[in-house]
Symmetry: C2
Subunit: 317 residues, 2 copies
């Protein structure tokens, strides 16, 4: 048995990444119904919205699902309260110290998973007593670490120092990549960007089409002085680069970022002024389909390619 399947009570070791403006109840419940673990991304939700999203998700699936909470979120206390009240079973925390909430959530029977991007925070997560970790490589979309450690390097490194289940994230949108992540030592994968181009994702159709039409080299990890984020190279992105060229201060960058950029880009579909968070794999995503089809394609390719992995003994000259 796979430890992640056991931990969450799911069929496939596939977790859908919690993504602001992209993963509400519709996406989360679809992933859970298809055999993975759906995650509501609470980072873009007011507390009341989050409560409604959780309730709707419970109506739409009787399968397990979770909620992602960025620990830097201002409404975090209210979010935590709602999650406990609504009986959510799985919390994914990110962007902060896992110590603060882990034991409190676990006392309510909630399993806690923390997202990390380096060994230092993997060890902090162990200390905090989390139930599993998401190890997210440099190629992942959205907020990320500044050390730029890629999935290929990160997973074996983390595997060597922790015993709890590892969920690999970053660069995974296909069965082949899922197979690679398992080969590297992960127990499961977290997939974000691929689900943006799904029927059930709450992103604006302009953003979905942008993901589908993008090619290699069209994302970058930037704004490391504030919170590092991988996003698409659009007008807003080049404004950031211009600011860097003029030695912008942290405050200048904060002013340029302003408020509501992510909503403007991903939810309202303003492809020039908005912030478009997505991973390097966007280059490989070329159609908008249903969540069920995505999971079918990935799991079928996984099984097919698994059988194709050559034994070195069969190669001998």
């Amino acid at each position: 048995m796979n430890r992640i399947n056991e931990l969450f009570g799911i069929k496939y070791p596939i977790i859908q990444g919690g993504m602001i403006w992209c993963s509400g109840w519709e996406l989360a419940s679809a992933v859970s119904n298809a055999g993975g673990l759906g995650i509501i991304g609470s980072g873009s939700m007011y507390p009341d919205v989050l409560r409604l999203q959780i309730r709707k998700c419970k109506q739409m699936t009787d399968k397990p699902f979770g909620v992602n909470i960025p620990l830097l979120y201002p409404d975090i206390e209210e979010h935590v309260k709602i999650i406990i009240e609504e009986g959510v079973k799985f919390i994914f925390t990110s962007a902060g110290n896992p110590k603060k909430y882990t034991s409190r959530l676990q006392k309510h029977g909630i399993k806690v998973v923390h997202v990390i991007a380096n060994k230092k925070f993997a060890l902090k997560s162990i200390e905090a007593g989390v139930d599993a970790i998401v190890a997210e490589g440099f190629e992942a979309g959205g907020h990320n670490g500044v050390e730029e450690i890629t999935t290929m390097c990160l997973i074996p490194m983390i595997k060597d120092i922790v015993n709890i289940p590892i969920i690999a994230a970053g660069g995974i949108s296909s069965g082949r990549a899922m197979l690679a992540a398992i080969a590297l030592g992960a127990d499961a994968v977290q997939i974000g960007s691929r689900f943006i181009a799904s029927n059930e994702c709450s992103a604006h159709i302009n953003f979905k089409n942008k993901v589908v039409n993008s090619d290699e080299g069209e994302t970058d990890l930037t704004l490391k002085e504030l919170t590092a984020v991988r996003l698409m190279k659009n007008k807003f992105y080049y404004q950031i680069q211009d600011a860097y060229a003029k030695n912008a201060s942290k405050d200048d960058l904060r002013l340029l970022l302003g408020r509501g950029r992510a909503k403007k880009g991903m939810f309202e579909g303003d492809l020039e002024e908005g912030e478009l968070e997505v991973g390097q794999v966007s280059a490989m995503i070329n159609k908008i389909i249903s969540v069920e089809e995505i999971i079918k394609e990935i799991t079928e390719e996984y099984e097919l390619e698994r059988k194709n992995i050559v034994s070195l003994k069969d190669l001998g000259l």
Copy 2:
């Protein structure tokens, strides 16, 4: 049969990356004798030195080996002449347009492999008629592409557009990583950094020890305006970052880089003033051993982990 094993006539689908100041006849012949394909890195050699290195390598192994030539090298014409005269069978070209030499080399019965870091150059390599490509991810040490595409994203992307054999490079120092690369669609792997910490590598012992003692986040891809290179963060590296902070021009950077930095660091062991080219995997390398032991460890781990890759059918709840 694996296409790469056939192409080169080797036992294991493991190619040793050609590395300036690190891969002379001693490393190359040891890798070939251990069942991989050893590569002499000609980028740090005067023509006469290259000829002696090739002759010595032929004395030390009766197995196939190759030579790597960076196409931007000033002595390239003489290098090519020597390679043909000495009857080398396999040439790995990098850092330039593969069109210029491929057909000329092939007329002499030489197989040509070109190193690429994106789709654009993969397609140029196909047009040039190369026999195989090395697809090198962002995490790799030394010279690299500027698009920052990681191995996890690059290999499936390249697999989708080419039919010739693919050798994956970047982030591979273990059997698990090799298995992941094969899962992603590669026919073979190219391993560089791991061989720096080998008895047979010609690098200075200070550099080998530095690789062994390094940890996560200690390398960076920099100097993108000149030729992008991943190197260790030492005094020289921070001088580059200071220059960037002062809006250094290309000429300023060229002046700072000067001549002989790589030799100073990797061959003469000056860990502060020298350029130390190595990949992100240096964080995982923790002992200097023989090439034979390295290849044994990698291939044994590959076989072990291959058997551990779970079938999704065995997971069903």
